[in-house]
Amino acid sequence: MPSVTPGGAAPAREFSTIGRRMRKVDGLAKATGRARYTDDIQLPGMLHGKILRSPHPHARIKSIDASAAERLKGVHAVTTGRDMPVPYGIIPWTPDEHPLCLDRVRYVGDGVAAVAAVDEETANEALGLVEVVYEELPAYFSPHEAIAAESGPFIHEPRRPGRNGNVTKVVRLEFGDVEAGLAESAVVVEGDYFFEGTTHTPIEPHCAIGMAERGGRLTVWSATQVPHYLHRELARVLDLDPALVRVVQPPVGGAFGGKSEPFDLEFCVATLAMKTGRPVKILYTREEVFYAHRGRHPFHMRYRTGADENGMLAAVDAEIVLDGGAYASFGLVTTYYSGQLLTAPYQMPAYRFHSTRAYTNKPACGPKRGHGSVQPRFAFEVQLDRIAERLAIDPIELRRRNFIGADTRTVNDLRITSNGFLECLDAVEAASGWRRKFRKLPFGRGVGVAGSTYISGTNYPVYPNDMPQSGVQLQVDRSGRVSVFSGASEIGQGADSMVAYVVAEELGVPLEHIRVLAGDTDFTPVDLGAYSSRVTFMLGNACIDAARRLKQQVQEAVAEAWDAKPGEVLLAGGLAMRKGDTGVSMSVRDAFNLAEAKFGTLGATGSYDTPKDVHGSYRGATIGASPAYSFSAHVAEVRVDPETGFVDVEKIWIAHDCGRALNPVLVEGQMEGSAYMGFAEAVMEEHVFKTAEQGRAGLHNAPSLLDYRIPTSLDTPALESLVIESVDPEGPYGAKEAGEGPLHPSIPAIANAIHDAVGVRMNSLPFSPPRVWAALQNRTAAGAEGAGDGVAKAGRREREGGSGGVAKAVTP
């Protein structure tokens, strides 16, 4: 049974390290300024690179003349797309971009040339001397217009003749009989929803350094989440021997999915370094970070949801258009995720989704925290709230009734193992005081609930192969120190610390005797990267695998000395102890030395690969399949000012089933950071572009941290974490993900709370004051006719003899 640990109290002490509130291995380095991020690295003789970017949203490149730039004093090299003609794309089936554009630019900000110069000023001056002649082409800013232009002009050439080159992916999947389910439903709720695009906005801008040596050796330092994929793509696109290419990933200053594929700067620093023989650094400006994007896709969604009179879901039908931007990026996966990840934590006998991703002439969208499933989750959880409203069922109760359960399969045949969703609902219901608040707060104040699920990694890697998804290597020193070589990417989530906790637990070594070297393709085994919430589950299991191999040798050697069985030797707390006889012990260091004497130099590798039989057999069944799923439920409490439409989110209670909290401090940090980011998308952030009517179509509306408003400390609501531990049978010590799942419910919980507060349904994001104010005006103007929900609220309060709010509810 899952156990609730409010505030993250440590679980029952069955471990010596796991579950304790611990520091991170890199916490003090980061708090003292010692941590060296990519831009902190200065190499002797280093040049500075800059990328010239397209001023047009869509244009043919007629010519590029870089001769004047090359002649400028201080300029060492200029490169263009011709130097790097091999296309790439993070998904091997959709390689549709080049490090620098060859003959066409597809968004304002697309790279066309790069220079390396003695300093940044000279590099900037050189960019101004590169002459590019463009022939402008018609541009698309709406996915609907792009899809409608069936005969072109196209943003990309169709992959097959006769196809629409503006459509990048279409997925249509149906499970069960949706039409029959809807026909038999006692209530069918329909709604149109719009999720505006948002972007990751890590505080560290992208940065990369290239260094070339004789004999074809290339080193690239980069603020990336995916050193392995970058390694592969650098070698492939630049036609280099991968064994001579090294990718080093220094500490990354935030990523959130925004650094999870190769970017132009990494190819450019490599090429410029090879051309000049000097190290070359490129640091994006903040504006370039906004244009690099790869963030949340805008989604246009239509849902029909049917339920019986008890609120049991009967059928769900979704029609989704994804605005993909100029390139494919992870879009193939996003299109599947837009439907595949909706099928838990609620049972649904019939489900259909039809998702179409379009190219538009804007920066490419990709994966942002909660890839592809945050948008449908918003719409769907609002739909559930409407069903609860219609049937007069408490929204938490409605969700409980539809709970899919543990150890089961979803309608689209995903395997669910552990599932602590009910405990999540219980936790937020109790902590938020739900029963005394829902429908009982005065007008202008309200609470809302939502639930969700998310993957703990994907069962299949980005490129097909039969090798492990994650690997580590351990090395033991005679001093008792254990070094871990980890291929995983520390991006602030605590990957390096997690490795140390697991190895310390298995080998009984104090945490301070563990060293972690990570993210260096010359020295660490392959891990596929910090994406899709895979690291704890996969790397954690790989660490257990490696440590247990090593432990076996230590146990054998000590058992021999004690004339005992290996299984009787326990390693914990810095000691090797004899089971059942605590008087017999030696230090772990001595135990390691015995093992080294017996077996030679000590070391072990460990790996993890996903189970491959945990999904259906239909086309696309592998996308969305994960070894385990996390579950979340949030309650948000809001205050809405009816005069201005301003939504003040006062607090979010976050309950999250992470399987087991290996370190509750870090789990809470992920939960709070996720809820913060969801809150930000709900009420503040919009990654939008100017239209032709506004002049300069395709320009980012607000490419700065002042104008693209991310929440400050004063904006952010109070956040309370409620850690739920369902102990997954396959996770490391039962752990599942915590980094992305707890973002999802924030947004619909806020939407539903707004409805509880003022009786309007907010179906378009963000819930900015103008939108909320307009919704309030519409409701008032429409009166009883078009605003069933709002009136229902007023009516309900009358029935309940509600205080004060009733009069206000019907007054502008």
Binding site: G27, I203, R286, G669, E672
Partner: protein, 155 residues
């Protein structure tokens, strides 16, 4: 090129930098103090915050000539020997630094706060950190850390 003199973390430094350099550029490129970060280079994110004569300032918006002759304290100057400043230790303890990129600036804002207000309320802390964007934590752990440090500084 200008020759500027300023006191950085207690050391008197003389540094030749282009006249258009900011304090941040001087710290990072002139003096090799890379603890202070550049997140936006236009005063929006606060990652470059340092303490200038006791006040938290945005070093990316401070022309170097304005810092001439003044006292600058950066994240590298908070610790006493190998002992971290209570703020740094509490950030570590509470997991208040995730990616850590905003952390040096937040620590400087918090250090300036604790210097002028040894017993800040949570609201005081929120106010003092309003110019420092953190994208990872949701701020809760940061408040806990500043409160913990304030208590230790008072003790």
């Amino acid at each position: 090129m200008e020759v500027v003199r300023l006191t950085v973390n207690g050391d008197e430094r003389v540094c030749g930098v282009p006249a258009h350099y900011t304090l941040l550029e001087t710290l990072r490129y002139g003096l090799g103090l890379t603890g202070s970060k550049q997140g936006c280079d236009k005063g929006d994110c606060g990652a470059c915050t340092v303490v200038l004569d006791g006040k938290a300032v945005l070093s990316c918006l401070t022309p170097i000539l304005e810092a001439e002759g003044r006292h600058v304290r950066t994240v590298e100057g908070l610790a006493s020997g190998v002992e971290p400043h209570p703020l740094q230790d509490e950030f570590d303890l509470h997991g208040a630094a995730q990616c850590g990129f905003c952390t040096p600036g937040i620590l400087c804002s918090a250090a300036a706060l604790l210097d002028r207000e040894p017993s800040p309320s949570r609201e005081d802390i929120r106010e003092a950190l309003a110019g420092n964007l953190c994208r990872c934590t949701g701020y809760e752990k940061i408040y806990d850390a500043v409160e913990g440090a304030a208590a230790r500084c008072r003790a």
